[in-house]
């Protein structure tokens, strides 16, 4: 170890020992982001902000929450909501935040799909993002059980029952997951553990990994343009910021992110204070009762599209039961987005609207997901059931057709 000189400031003292200035440069002032972006590129930072809000409010809720079937409901709705100072605020932020974080995840995801940010070289960004989507889904599902209301109970019941459709081990698997024949105290405590410890740890790890995957392929830009980052960053460092195609993560990129975040927070807190029923379902203010199903059972809005794919197949086809078909389609819907980088065979990295065939596919998919979401909440009777069936089939067909459509697109683009 070389001899250390006496530091002239606290900053220098740390710099000598931790190379803070070097770390700051690599992570912040010389981490390059393309300049040609719009506010949709701020969704990542917004998600980090939302996750922080959920983590902090979750810690405070943890102080009074009791994971026991006899106490859970009252510990939330009486102790936290009525007694603890600002407990209601923490719970509203946590409940609404859990719903809104999925809105941002979906915007983030479909921004990626629209601009082709999953393509060659960026596959790991896409995959780690999907990993986050899966872990967030598990976190949302496990957390929804904790208030132990009617929707908590019956959503948990119906979703764990899905595993019963797996051949051979299904029935035993369901009992193993629940720790009982039905959703019970054992189920609540193990989902509590998952929600407050295991899954959040996995999410934190996945977030770090997701950031890391951006490092080498770099963030995509609005036109899908490839350029020499070294050349452009040198231009920037020489002071020609206006003509450089890159900006620094700090302060350039983050100043815009903070602007988007603060504007979004106005909207978010409006929901927290004045319109929170959509995230905290009124039915869940009835205590869980395993002997009484609510009139309508539906998952939170962000699971509706895949739920509708699950129940879209309500009749047997070719000797396979509707239930098995639904389960297969559901499994397909969960996994297929992961494969997107390999299903899209067209080398074009462009916004969807500039791609001759993909643009139709993209907007068709959006419309189909909207219909799946909306009908996923309605009772599946009469004509509703058929819309569910048609839109579920459309979903499957869209993804099966994607490789062929994009192959044609590649030919068109190559011919030009």
């Amino acid at each position: 170890m070389a001899e250390f000189e006496k530091a002239n400031s606290v900053g220098e003292w740390f710099d000598q020992r931790l190379n803070t200035s070097g770390f700051w440069r690599v992570m912040m002032t010389e981490y390059w982001i393309p300049k040609n972006i719009n506010f949709l590129w701020a969704m990542g930072a917004l998600l980090a902000m939302m996750f922080t809000l959920l983590l902090v409010t979750g810690i405070f809720l943890l102080m009074y929450y009791k994971p026991d079937v006899n106490m859970a409901f009252d510990s939330v709705n009486y102790t936290i909501m009525q007694e603890v100072a600002y407990g209601w605020l923490f719970r509203n932020i946590h409940g609404v935040g859990a719903s809104v974080v999925f809105l941002i995840i979906y915007i983030h995801m479909f921004t990626g799909i629209y601009y082709g940010s999953y393509k060659k070289g960026r596959e790991m960004i896409w995959l780690s993002g999907m990993l986050l989507f899966v872990t967030f889904s598990a976190e949302g599902f496990s957390g929804y059980m904790l208030p132990w209301g009617q929707m908590s109970y019956w959503a948990a019941y119906v979703i764990t029952e899905i595993f019963g459709g797996i051949p051979f081990i299904g029935d035993e698997l369901v009992i193993w997951i629940r720790g009982n024949f039905y959703v019970s105290d054992a189920t609540l405590t193990r989902f509590f553990m998952l929600h407050v410890l295991l899954i959040p740890m996995a999410i934190l790890g996945a977030i770090v990994f997701h950031f890391y995957t951006l490092r080498f392929p770099h963030v995509n830009n609005e036109e899908g343009e490839f350029f020499d980052y070294k050349e452009e960053s040198e231009k920037y460092l020489k002071g020609d910021k206006a003509h450089s195609k890159v900006i620094a993560f700090w302060p350039d990129f983050l100043s815009k992110d903070f602007m988007v975040i603060t504007i979004f927070m106005i909207f978010f807190f409006y929901l927290v204070f004045y319109n929170n029923d959509f995230a905290m379902d009124p039915v869940n203010f009835d205590k869980a009762d395993g002997m009484k199903t609510p009139a309508h059972i539906y998952p939170e809005w962000y699971f509706l599209w895949s739920y509708e794919v699950l129940r879209g197949f309500f009749f047997d086809i070719a000797g396979i039961s509707g239930k098995s078909l639904g389960l297969m389609a559901f499994g397909f819907a969960q996994a297929i987005f992961m494969l997107l980088p390999w299903l899209d065979r067209s080398p074009m990295v462009k916004p969807a609207n500039q791609r001759p065939i993909f643009k139709y596919w993209f907007w068709f998919l959006m419309a189909d997901l909207f219909i799946l979401t909306i009908f996923g909440k309605l009772p599946p009777t009469g004509a509703n059931a058929w819309v569910g069936f048609a839109s579920s089939v459309t979903f499957l067909v869209l993804f099966i057709a994607l490789p062929f459509l994009t192959k044609i697109e590649a030919k068109i683009a190559g011919g030009k």
Binding site: E161, R311, P379
Partner: protein, 174 residues
């Protein structure tokens, strides 16, 4: 050279022994998630059917599941291989969970059928599915008939075994 390959072998051997430990730990962890013995042993429910009245659904609880008990009225025909005769009357004894995704269907006494609010499945009074996503009739729990007024849920009596045997030979229902 000998040293090198020996180091390689010892490294692999260490890895293998560590893997045995890891697998053992996983098995232990899997068992920690298993239902407790007290839960698995969760016993039997005795039901007094003399308190039931015609065409009025009663719900008993067995292993945390709702059990439908329905005494057929004179105008409701008994269904072969599903209805159970206890004393004078025919009964439906069924697990009251929709075979689609486990919601509890509601009984409509005017039309003598069950309707599931979740996904619209319908069953007859004997529990046979007639509409919607349910893949099979309502399940029949193990039961045994003690005397003309008493049945015990969770215990497989001769009547139950006969019922199950007749089901498995019937390709229409299986």
């Amino acid at each position: 050279m000998i040293n090198e390959s020996r180091r390689g072998f010892m490294g692999k051997a260490f890895g293998a022994v560590a893997a045995v430990g890891a697998v053992g730990s996983l098995v232990a962890m899997k068992k920690t998630w298993d239902p407790l013995p007290s839960v698995m042993a969760a016993g039997f429910t005795t039901v007094d059917v003399s308190k039931l009245s015609d065409n009025k659904l009663e719900i008993a609880k067995w292993q945390g599941k709702p059990i439908f008990l329905l005494r057929f009225a004179a105008d409701m025909p008994a269904v072969e291989k599903r209805s159970v005769k206890v004393g004078e009357h025919y009964y439906s004894i069924m697990i009251g969970l929709c075979t689609h995704l486990g919601c509890i269907p509601a009984y409509r006494d005017a039309t003598h059928d069950f309707k599931c609010a979740c996904h619209g499945g319908e069953f007859t009074a004997a529990g046979v599915h007639t509409f919607g996503p349910p893949p099979r009739p309502l399940d029949i729990p193990p039961f045994s008939i003690k005397d003309e007024n008493t049945i015990v849920l969770g215990e497989a009596g001769p009547e139950y075994k006969a019922l199950i045997a007749s089901l498995s030979t019937d390709s229409n229902i299986a």
